[in-house]
Amino acid sequence: MLELLSKLNPNGWDEMFSSKGVRSSYRQVLQTLQGLNQESLESKQKQASDFFMNQGITFTVYGDDNQGIERIFPFDIIPRIITQKDWIEVEEGIKQRLKALNLFLEDIYNEQHIVKEGIIPASLIASCPHYIQEVHGIKIPHDIHVHIAGIDLIRGAKGEFYVLEDNLRCPSGVSYMLENREITKRIFPKMLTSNNVSMVGNYPMILHNILVSLSPRGVSNPNVVLLTPGIYNSAYYEHTFLARQMGIPLVEGRDLVVNNSKVYMKTTSGLQQVDVIYRRLDDEYLDPLVFKPDSALGVPGLISSYKQGNVAIVNAVGNGVADDKAVYVYVPDMIKYYLNEEPILKNVPTYQMENIEERELVFANMENMVIKETNQSGGYGMIMGNKATEQEFKKAKIAILENPRNFIAQPIIQLSTVPCLIDGELKLRHVDLRPYALYGPNGVEIVPGGLTRVALKEGSLVVNSSQGGGSKDTWIVK
């Protein structure tokens, strides 16, 4: 039997334990875990790893001999639990935020009232590399720009939720949310049933309905495709997973051609018109005639067809301006401006490096700050002040002074912790949460769950899979 309590000493908010002992939502899970010996826990962990390996949910690491070795993204078998009460706050907060961000995108690519009224500085938008001038003035179906959002949340010392960042371009990881649940069904079937956990499996159906509803052609069975960069992309498994779950073709750029401003796919029976593209490649690779001319991933002429309304692209082109880390600071103002409401979810305090006073404050406290590049994601371009060397600080200062618009800083927040099974023992690790929101003509829908990412290295606050992070199944208990 595992000894749990004696090993746990939460510093900050722990999801499983409070100072009074185990939280009620975790009671049954803890009981089940305590009833298992180490061998059986490890066997469940192995079962999960084998499941991911056999499904091909892997990424490839290349060695010196150029031979790829397949690795899985680590999965921890102990679920992360969120109560219904907390979930309602998260759900309402994300819906509110998404509506405001969508209104911002509609505004910024049309009249730009928010800039004219001085809420957001024009220079911030003009200097944003993800603001796409080419799609200014474009009319898109139902005025929806963000059909799929993955908004990253963290919990502070008192358990309060903060938005860490908004991912409004091609948020990934939803297949892990779904597959993590599938593996939990196999390793803890009774525990899952007895905890009354909300279902997440209907995500692909909701997404498919939204995609179909966006077709510019009034046909009963529009041709919806998922556009992938190809088999070498690290998220390729997710692309195949979603295409299979929705029953839509998985296409690469070379499968598509634009003729007379309409998009077609090349089939064995000739060309077939495409109505909706769920793209999983970034804006700058979509069309070599408009963006990177040397990229072979996209489709020449796609943007022209999109502008003429002959094809819908999901998410819309140009969303990067709304999830730019410097624009993030203004999201609470957007909520007030467009919705006339107070934000339900807080932002993490953020310092803009363009602002001299804020910059000086950050330079004086760098060891307590995390510095981020505004146009990076996946944990790249990030300096954790508590881990950085003097040399790194010096380098960061030079880079910031050269291009202050390119950086923001945030105080290091101790993310909440959850126990994880590591080397046969239960150890505390920091987590975040990425729920997936879907925005269609009938409003915003969020499946009750999300992807819990875990920083597997002891003491680390970086949860990104590209930086050695893993994941957990996320339960919303009724």
């Binding site: 056999n54 031979q67 397949e70 299979r244 998985l250 029976s269």
Partner: protein, 317 residues
């Protein structure tokens, strides 16, 4: 409802099938030769030569040096990274094609190919082949390929994907049958009236899964002409040239059913001529030279057909 298929995906399914069929045939041949290598038979003048000649790009000298070297052959055929046709490399290529057409193949098929891939990439495999485990490994791989075919048959929907996949499989199988047959007739100068015994032909028949059928279907002697009947003309033998061509024809017909393109008609005629050439060959009166020509020409025409077929359906770049 009419369902279209991306040319790239059709290409992927065609080649997935070809690579897996090649792996299957090669493993069956390896298994046969390996097991027979334990017997010191009188008629084994070739060793692993037919296998190495058809499935690898080793030079004549290299083949001569290694045709009796079991340990080298096992590793070279199963897991040598430098051998473009090793089981490992074929499975890698098959998996890559499966990945590219993953939304059109079933989950069961994908998982099976994927687990085979992981087995082939396990770092311990080459060492294990040096031990007494070698036969167990070959047997396991043979079974994995049988299972692959079973999963393919039971789970895959019939339709475009199935047709492309089946055409690929039967082209590959037909080429294997012709090439291995050539290897055994070439060494006896295509002598149809010779008196090679069953021990000689057993190696070919076992490699093509046709030994038991041969024993049940034909009287004892002489074998040289009867083997031709079995491996080229026997309609009940799943590896015969006639059988495989009939299946290609069947799936081509399904593919061309609603296709009125002149290129499609041309390709169908091209294949019809090839099939008729084999079908209307009178094997009872076949001469040695005609046998050699039949095998050489059929192989060349089938390779040409495969190229033209790919051009018509898969030219997506």
């Amino acid at each position: 409802m009419k369902v279209n298929m991306l040319s790239r995906v059709a290409d992927g399914m065609f080649w997935l099938s070809r690579y897996m069929e090649r792996t299957d045939g090669m493993l069956l041949t390896l298994n046969t030769f390996y097991i027979l290598s334990f017997d010191k038979e009188m008629n084994d003048s070739q060793g692993y030569k037919p296998l190495l000649e058809y499935y690898t790009d080793l030079t004549k000298e290299q083949i001569n040096r290694s045709q009796y070297d079991t340990s080298y052959v096992l590793k070279y055929i199963i897991c040598d990274n430098q051998n473009y046709n090793s089981v490992k490399n074929l499975v890698i290529k098959a998996r890559e094609n499966a990945r590219g057409s993953q939304d059109k193949i079933t989950k069961e098929l994908w998982e099976h190919i994927n687990s085979l891939y992981h087995f082939m990439n396990s770092p311990e495999l080459p060492k294990k082949l040096e031990t007494n485990d070698a036969l167990n490994i070959i047997t396991k791989l043979n079974k994995d390929l049988l299972l692959y075919n079973g999963i393919l048959h039971v789970t895959m929907p019939r339709g475009l994907g199935w047709w492309f996949s089946s055409i690929g499989k039967h082209i590959e199988r037909c080429l294997q049958t012709i090439s291995l047959t050539q290897a055994y007739y070439k060494t006896i100068n295509y002598n149809l009236d010779g008196d090679e015994d069953l021990l000689y032909w057993r190696r070919l028949l076992l490699s093509l899964s046709g030994y038991e059928l041969y024993l049940k279907s034909y009287s004892n002697i002489p074998h040289n002409r009867k083997i031709v009947q079995q491996v080229i003309f026997n309609r009940d033998f799943a590896h015969s040239v006639t059988y495989t061509l009939e299946y290609i024809d069947k799936y081509l017909e399904s593919l061309f059913k609603d296709n009125n393109l002149s290129e499609a008609r041309k390709l169908q005629n091209q294949f019809g001529r090839l099939k008729s050439y084999v079908e209307f060959t009178d094997y009872h009166h076949l001469t040695n030279q005609q046998l050699e020509e039949l095998l050489t020409n059929t192989k060349a025409q089938l390779i040409q057909f495969s190229t033209d077929f790919s051009k018509l359906f898969f030219s997506y770049t």
